[in-house]
Symmetry: C2
Subunit: 335 residues, 2 copies
Amino acid sequence: MSDERRILLAHGNGGRLMRELIEEVFAHHLAGPHLDTRADAVTLPWQTNELVLTTDGFTVQPLEFPGGDIGSLAVHGTVNDLAVSGATPIFLALSVFIEEGFELARLGRIVASLARAAREDGVQVVAGDTKVLPRGECGGLYLSTTGIGRLAREVRIGMDRISPGDRLLLSGPVGDHGISVLLARGDFGLAGKLRSDAASVLPFTQALLGLRGLRFMRDPTRGGLATVAHEIARASRLEVRLEESRIPVRETVRAACEMLGYDPMFLACEGRVVAVVAPEDTECAIAAWRGLPGGTDAAVIGEARSGSHGVVLRTELGGERLLEELEEDPLPRIC
Amino acid sequence: MSDERRILLAHGNGGRLMRELIEEVFAHHLAGPHLDTRADAVTLPWQTNELVLTTDGFTVQPLEFPGGDIGSLAVHGTVNDLAVSGATPIFLALSVFIEEGFELARLGRIVASLARAAREDGVQVVAGDTKVLPRGECGGLYLSTTGIGRLAREVRIGMDRISPGDRLLLSGPVGDHGISVLLARGDFGLAGKLRSDAASVLPFTQALLGLRGLRFMRDPTRGGLATVAHEIARASRLEVRLEESRIPVRETVRAACEMLGYDPMFLACEGRVVAVVAPEDTECAIAAWRGLPGGTDAAVIGEARSGSHGVVLRTELGGERLLEELEEDPLPRIC
């Protein structure tokens, strides 16, 4: 029996096909006691301590965009995977794939930005590797960063701890990164003052670590808020109900989405957190977030409840609709 | 003043241009107490213990070749960077860049090979990430692996510990990997039974860790044995003298090099170690290596001595010549 299926762009969009690819190929062959393909980062025993490990590849086009570039993104993205796992990021390793012909000055600018982001986020880049690819074979520059962090204290969070009634919290507006990158391509003749939200979410995650009712945190990147909601629904075997009117979306993002036919629910963020918190800790969590720089739009956007409908969106008009999992409709590359 | 210099393929070949790129761009911006651009892996404080970290990108063409593929290479390569640092490899993180249109069956074969190599080498793949790139933008598949290891015992090795009179040892023939990959391209109409040497060198590195006179170890990959010899000469401020007649090279490798115009001294290995050992421990080290599977060709190939000529090759005819550092003559991509 021959298997002539091929990789599609949609295998990389964070949605159903990507999940199936990871399960069928990677988890299938690499199964082991520590591998968890659904986790942002993995906690590993290390003699008497524990360390938290994560890795992420970055391929954004264009390489530079308002509010960031592939260098700062590669730091914030990996820092954020550690942060939402309850860890404090400490060390980064950097693997670089460069296309022949790439301008050295541009490379220098991007690496300087990466270094600045590392200083801002409090991590040290301690290992690296560089490969050069023949002209025409690579989209200019790809980066892969691997992060090592330390659990700040006895943190036990995970999707399996989510119960009916728990609230979903979002730390800020969705879609800023996705729309900023799309507009930076210039394909649409649109321009604006919008900047990517790319930044460390560590202040937001640390603000919740002391809450007994903290269940789970995740940063909505590829596949956006909708994909995080689906991951929660699937892993917790609960239904996630989101209130559309409570999800913060900037007016410029909303307008661009309407013009271009995108749904902000599926757009990548690079500096936001979704947290699931017990009802009694919700007010405290939102107050903590709103006190942080960039946290004024933090909101309770929904809840987990018994049910088997996956993700249900209560629309601004008062109706309800099922929010589908991201399928074969890949967005352009934005992270 | 504008800087219009661009990346050349030679910036990736392991030689002088690559060293300068790393110093000028990466080390310049990312300098810190733990970053050492000349090390295979870095030892980091981790509470009361230490951990050893390394990262490496893999872009070999063709993706599958006699004796291995990009999957097994990505495991052995990173395992070996930990091993030559005196560490025992424990965990791997895997970052995958796949081109749209890549055959799923082929991906499965490569990931299965990667998993097999990880089992053989005794490491666990515990974290991963997948990105899909548009068709035509990536050479099929690139991998990046990051490895975490533990120092086996109180190991203190480094190029700064090398003294005049110390011997250079090589664990097996050079060039098997480079020539196997070149022939697998089919460009030359040559074929043979040669297989890549890609494998874990951990048994070879562990066999020497108990020797008081062990100074330094490195696996000759990109840039080959010549590049390792230059790195040693530069960092130790000594001269490295190599005896051409003692450097093991298989007859098929030698013949292919003569036909194709390559120098085996610059060809990549993926399963060999160069060790620098005090004279009194040389015999013991060679005996230990020769007792290992694949170690029958282990040899003393030269020594470090006072002098400022870099790397001097004593030829088989009895003359001496300077072995230049790899310059702007990139070999095809072989790791």
